[in-house]
Symmetry: C2
Subunit: 337 residues, 2 copies
């Protein structure tokens, strides 16, 4: 049995607004910590980090920590520092990802690696990563340190596995799911789990919110991977078809390749191999994805994980926090429409 996604707000599309409102006051505290702790006497560090951090981004992960704490009626502020630590880990991985992918855009701006070079992006990422652990140590919870150090190792493993799958047309759905669980869902899950840890809400609440975060993260990434073939650069904040040109084996490609005619499969081998990456090839890829139902089914998979995320929320009492966390799930899967 799974919950059904039945929006409570049928007169408007689902959005992150309720979660933004729920967490606005606490997020001011988190942002103050982020701005304070990204400082360094080495001026290039706040300059580069600030470009990415001030440059927008939804603050999705720290917002989840705050919303989960609200769900548990946690009255303290310990989680502000930890939410900032989560955002630093995320920012560090973005800086390193953009080096790995040779990205040219991030959050609608030029990627830091293009402005300051790969070396600076690698090293400032290392700084933010170290700083995140300093923040956790200041809080002093070994349980939180365990959750986030493990999540960080899992993220790196996922990124390495993604690298080994790149341009490998034989990558299957299992491997893809393992990769996105590691590179994306692990930090969503950790961000949610640390709230019941500081709230001392017990093991059951920890597991439930970890499951919520994990399944939301998977749904989020599945939709992101579909959007890379359906949206425009302005909506995404990065270039349409980046994954295609990078030869990333995301689920839309995996399904389209598996279901394709031998002629289609030959096209995919060339495209993923990097030999057919012109705009007309991308357009053809999108046609194949639509014709085979690969895009629709990627989104259907996302809805399955979204339902699991909602199931995980079921035991918690109704209220603003639960409604906001619920609508965040609906938003995650509605973005592609």
């Amino acid at each position: 049995m799974t919950a059904t996604i039945t929006p409570l707000h049928s007169n408007r599309p689902p959005s992150l607004d309720p979660m933004l409102q729920l967490t606005a006051a606490a997020m001011n505290g988190v942002n103050a910590i982020i701005l304070d702790r990204m400082q360094s006497e080495v001026a290039l560090i706040p300059e580069l980090a600030g470009h990415l951090i001030a440059g927008g981004g939804k603050r999705m992960r720290p917002m989840l920590t705050l919303a989960c704490a609200a769900l548990l009626d946690y009255p303290g502020t310990r989680h502000h520092k930890l939410a900032a630590a989560v955002e630093f880990i995320h920012t560090a991985t973005l800086l390193h990802d953009d080096v790995v992918d040779g990205s040219s855009m991030r959050r609608g701006k030029r990627a830091a690696n293009l402005i300051w070079g790969n070396p600076a992006s690698v090293l400032v990422g290392d700084f933010l990563f170290s700083r995140s652990f300093e923040l956790m140590v200041e809080d002093g919870s070994l349980k939180v340190l365990k959750i986030l150090s493990h999540a960080s190792a899992v993220i790196a493993e996922g990124e390495v596995e993604q690298l080994t799958a790149q341009r490998q047309v034989g990558t299957d759905e299992d491997k893809y799911l393992r990769i996105i669980q590691a590179k994306t869902a692990a930090l969503f899950a950790a961000a949610c789990r640390i709230a019941p840890v500081v709230a001392e809400a017990g093991e059951e609440a920890e597991l439930a919110l970890e499951s919520y975060g994990k399944n939301l993260g998977i749904a989020f990434q599945l939709v992101d991977d579909a959007i890379d073939y359906t949206s425009d650069a302005e909506t995404m904040g990065k270039g349409l078809g980046d994954d295609f040109r990078d030869g990333k084996m995301t689920l839309p490609v995996i399904l389209a390749y598996a279901r394709g005619s031998s002629e289609d499969r030959s096209f995919w081998r060339s495209a993923i191999g990097g030999d057919r990456v012109a705009d007309e090839d991308l357009a053809h890829a999108i046609v194949l994805m639509r014709d085979t139902g690969a895009l629709a089914d990627t989104l259907e998979r996302a809805r399955q994980y979204a339902r699991r995320a909602l199931d995980a929320l079921a035991p918690f009492p109704a209220g603003k926090a639960k409604a906001a966390l619920t609508e965040a799930v609906e938003f995650a899967v509605a973005r592609a429409y």
Copy 2:
């Protein structure tokens, strides 16, 4: 008042052998942890990490943790895991350094970034860094976590500052010292300090061994920076003159530039700017360094820091461990002769 460096073994050159012997048994424990914990189901991770870790290196930093624990007669084994964590941090920084510098050799072998590419080196570095924190969390000392997370942030700051000083001929000795204290001495200091923490030897022992490690680290880096202009590739395990071609403002360059004629200074501006980096330019740079006493004085600075390291050891009782730590300092400054 400073101690004088009076070798107790005047019939042979100083070496790391006494420290290697002192720590051999414990290092087996550390190596077992290193090999065990660099594993991952993502095969590229142990493959790439193993290339660097199994590929030699002196294990200088974990050896210092072990030798300091021996100095304090610490009877336990907690420090094995922490020494492995220190080596993982060091390995992660080497992988990232080689990406930043575009290195072609490391420890006498092809650098990992040349074999597996920059993306893999960045991400496997991230994995080892995360894993080092997992090891520390397993040990459970917040004090150790604080020391090593802070050291990691300082290292990254030093690396970024080094990057901003690259090809900047106006870099002065103060900035250079700040950079090497951060990028090199901070981890030496932390590796030494965590031994008295686990041995519960008290604040005074912590500060003394931190000072030992810090000053040894500075001496070590000063000599390394001289060796880059005096040694051959076989001795160094990396290319002669790499710093020169990279436009690194190390102390030999800083002193030679400061003391040079206007013609010499013009040469240095071109060389550090990247316009005169042929073999004959390197040969000319070395002549200028010798003529101005820049190399000799870099080594004299190293000896000053070595004396401070020995001073820091003074309060500890005589014995094999103290003798080994003393000879390690003598070795550090004797390598260039």
